[in-house]
Every structure is written in C-alpha cells, then in structure tokens.
C-alpha cells in the first residue's frame, strides 16, 4: 500500500474527566491523577455502582452558540468542544479550505437514554407532547452532523458504532478514507456521555462495572484485585489529513497513523476472544509494514475487568512473544475510567502526546500483581522513554476489535 497517501495528525482536542484542555489532560495523566469520584449526575444511592469519572465544569456555550447548545445532547456538545480545540490546535482555517474535501467521522452511540424519557411522555401525555428536539439530541448520526454544521465541513459525515471499540474504529476508518482519496482532511474521534441511570444500571446488571465504592480502588487494570470497569465520559477529536494537504497548508505535524487492523471475535456477546484480539494487532502491524519488535509501547484497552485484562495480556503475548515482557503496556482508564465510544480516541490523544513528550502515562491503582497478567504495566508512575512506534488497542463489548499504529513523524517515512 506504499503508493497510498500518508496520513498525519495535526490537531488534538479533548474533553475529559481530567480536564477539558490538552495541557491539563496531559499534565494530570502523567502525574497519575485519578478523575474517578462519587456519581453526581444523578442520585446513585439505590444503584450498586456508586462511582464514575465525570466531566466537571463543562459549559457548552464556551464552544458553541446558545441555540446549538439548546439543540444538542451532552454527547454532541463534547464532540463540538473537542473539535473546536482540535481545529484551533491544527490552525485549521475553513475560509481557505475546500469544505467538500473535509469530513467528520465520530465514534458514538449518541444518547439513547433520552428515548426512554420520551417514551414515558408518550405514555403519559400522548404523541404530540414528545420533545421536538429529541431527534436532534439522541441520534448517534446527529453527533457528526452537529460537528459538521458548526465547522461547515461538507465532505463525508458519519457516525460509527462498535461499542467500546468505536473511538479506534472511527480513526481507522478516517485513516482509510484519507488513504483512498475520499477527503483531504477528516475531523475524527469519539464522544460519549453515558453516566446515566440507564447505562449504569444496564451495564452494571451484566457485571461489567466495578461495585467498589472507594473511588481510589474502583478501577485497577491488570491488578489481581480488579473488580470491573468504571464509566467515564467525554470526547476527543483529532485532525487527520493527508501528508500532502498538511504540507500544503504548512501544518505542524504531530504524529502519523501508519496502520490499522480490525477483527471480530464471533465467540460471545460478552466474553472476549483472545485470538481475534491478537489478529487485530497483527493486522495493524502488517498494515504498517513493521514487525512486533518495532513497537515501543502499547496503550492497552485495559478496562479493569477480570476477563478483559487477562485476554488482552494473552493476546499481546501471542503477538509479541518473549518481547512482550520488555514492552511497556499501560491503561489510562485507571485514571479517566472507560469513556465508551470515546475511549479509543482519547487514548489516541494520549498516545500522540506520549510520542511528542517521550513519556508513558502510568496504570495507577496497581498494587497486587496477577500471575495471569504478567507484563510491564508501567505501574503508578509515568515513565520517560523515547517512543517512535506505539500500538493502541480498543475492543468492543460484542467482540469488535481495532488496533492502530501511531508513529513519530519523520519526513522520509520509516
């Protein structure tokens, strides 16, 4: 695929439980700060799950007009805010761009919880009293639509949903759309705002969420005493563009995406498939034209569930062999929780920052090694290390897997 355009990253925007600026996010991430606390978005007294990583002090009107804020759900608002920051970071000037060549791809499930409220209104008051804005607020497709409306991007505009894999899936698809010439620049990422009674109750009911009430112990990826994942919320959007387009507009190039690999477990709705996760990683390496020994760091899916962390560890060992033991692997979910459809894209921002700053964010709350999870998880403290090639994993509940390869940008490629 060497005749395809190279795809580079020129802007990063993030709304996260650790903060809604890139600097704050990165500083807190590398200082091992946890954003997990008691749920305040609703009264969780009767819920078995008490903690989450909430975005605090987010005011949508800092990023969009009041009418747009009125017409959007929190999920779209996060996406718009992250897009604004990413576009500013990339110095994207739409007045000189060809809008038909600029796309938007967002991994998201929208806000299906809003439908439950409206179903209740139909039941009580009749169909005419349904909120006229609900279509605009709940639909996954409206998240990229609102982003496109705000920015004025007229190229491909789509939402992608493959559960917790969506963030990587959207970046991987945007990468391919650019390589295939469907756009010159794509605003790509993920957004999720699922700290809601319905999402917490439903995901909690299938045993995926930690019931630990102490926020400092709730999310412990790869630790022997891990007890499930913790919901987070937020969005990350990245400016991806072809190298030629980036150079023509003299963008500062932050990093490059050089590989993507997808697979599906076809095993079970909830149990992860080790072999297919390994295949996603191998396919990403092959797409990037590199061997396992070239990888310097893995940003893990690392949810903190019993099943995920063992499966991911085994998958890494099956791809990287004995080299896996000297390969740093960390999970930022230990600090920001699991952002669902936004997870992979927030992790992509972390990976690009890791490459730029030669620093690996840690896996915090790591106290007791699990004999079945025996890799170097960068426990508790960030690590200075020069990084050229990083792999990032995202796996969806249902069995969708996507691994991405990020590289330090070098003009002459490899």
């Amino acid at each position: 695929m060497s005749n395809m355009p190279r795809v580079v990253i020129t802007g990063l925007g993030v709304v996260s439980p650790l903060g809604s600026t890139l600097d704050e996010f990165w500083h807190k991430l590398t200082s091992g700060t946890s954003a997990i606390g008691k749920i305040t978005h609703f009264d969780a007294e009767k819920f078995p799950v008490k903690v989450a990583a909430e975005v605090k002090d987010f005011d949508p009107v800092n990023y969009m007009k009041m009418k747009r804020a009125d017409r959007t759900g929190r999920c779209s608002q996060f996406a718009i805010a992250a897009t604004r920051m990413a576009a500013d970071h990339a110095r994207l000037d739409m007045s000189v761009e060809e809008p038909e060549r600029i796309g938007v791809v967002v991994g998201t499930s929208g806000m299906p919880e809003l439908l439950a409220e409206q179903a209740n209104i139909i039941e009580r008051k009749g169909p005419n009293r349904v909120d006229p804005l609900v279509v605009s607020k709940y639909r996954a497709s409206m998240v990229p639509a609102h982003v496109g409306l705000e920015v004025g991007a007229k190229g491909i505009n789509t939402s992608i949903n493959s559960a917790c894999n969506s963030g990587n899936d959207s970046l991987g698809n945007a990468y391919n759309l650019l390589r295939l010439g469907y756009a010159d620049l794509i605003l790509a990422g993920g957004a999720g705002a699922n700290i809601t009674p319905l999402a917490i109750a439903a995901t909690g009911r299938i045993g995926a969420l930690s019931r630990e009430e102490d926020p400092d112990k709730a999310c412990r990826p790869f630790d022997l005493n891990r007890s499930g994942f913790v919901y987070g919320e937020g969005a990350a959007m990245l400016v991806l563009e072809t190298l030629e387009h980036a150079q023509n507009r003299r963008s500062e190039i932050l990093a490059e995406i050089t590989g993507a690999g997808w697979s599906f477990d076809a095993v079970s709705e909830t149990s992860p498939g080790m072999a297919e996760r390994a295949r996603a990683m191998s396919l990403a390496l092959r797409d990037a034209g590199i061997s396992p020994g070239d990888v310097d760091y893995i940003n893990a899916h690392g949810t903190g569930t019993k099943l995920n962390d063992v499966s991911e560890t085994r998958a890494i060992k099956s791809v990287f062999g004995t080299g896996a033991y000297s390969l740093p692997v960390s999970s930022i979910k230990s600090m920001i929780g699991h952002l669902g459809c936004a997870a992979g894209s927030v992790e992509a921002v972390a990976v690009v920052m890791s490459i730029l700053n030669s620093t690996i964010p840690p896996t915090i709350n790591y106290q007791t090694p699990d004999p079945e999870c025996d890799l170097d998880y960068v426990p508790n403290v960030s690590r200075r290390q020069s990084l050229d090639v990083c792999l990032s994993n995202s796996f969806g509940l249902g069995g969708q897997n996507c691994s991405l390869i990020f590289r330090r940008f070098k003009q002459n490629g490899t």
Binding site: K65, M66, K67, D70, R71, N128, R129, V130, D131, P132, L133, S136
Partner: protein
C-alpha cells in the same frame, strides 16, 4: 395589565429563539425572531403543554406575527373551556 397569553408566548418564544425582551412585540414575526421550523415546533409544544391545548401544525402554518398567534391561542383556550362547561 399585560395579557397573560401574550406574556406566556413572549416568554416561550424568547427562551426558544434566545432573543432579548426588546425583540418582542405584537408585530414581531417569526422571521424577526429568526425562528426556523425547529423553533416553531418547540414553541407550539410548549404552548400546548402550558395551556393544555392541541395546536395542529396545519392550523398555524400560515400564522407569522405574534398578535395573530396570541388570538389563535386564546380561541383554542376559550373553545377548550367552553367544551369543558358543556
């Protein structure tokens, strides 16, 4: 004393369109308020909720100024109260 129906319409219309108090009078039109179709339907639903009336879209499709709209809503309220007394 301000007309209560007009006051309520003003309150709802300004909330939905994010306009200022000075932007609203009896002569004000939906165009003046820069209200698009989504704004109009939000205003209708809010009025239906407030006065417990039904406003079929087709009956108000041609109404553009606030005074006519207030009169229409008053007629609806009167009709509802009349039918309640039967």
């Amino acid at each position: 004393m301000p007309d209560p129906v007009e006051e309520k319409l003003k309150q709802i219309a300004l909330r939905v369109t994010r306009k200022q108090e000075a932007d609203f009078s009896g002569d004000t039109t939906f165009e003046d308020l820069e209200a698009d179709s989504m704004d109009r339907v939000q205003i209708l639903v809010s009025l239906e909720e407030e006065f417990d009336i039904e406003i079929p879209d087709e009956e108000v499709a041609e109404i553009n100024d606030m005074k006519t709209f207030v009169d229409y809503v008053k007629t609806k309220i009167a009709r509802k109260e009349g039918s309640a007394g039967e």
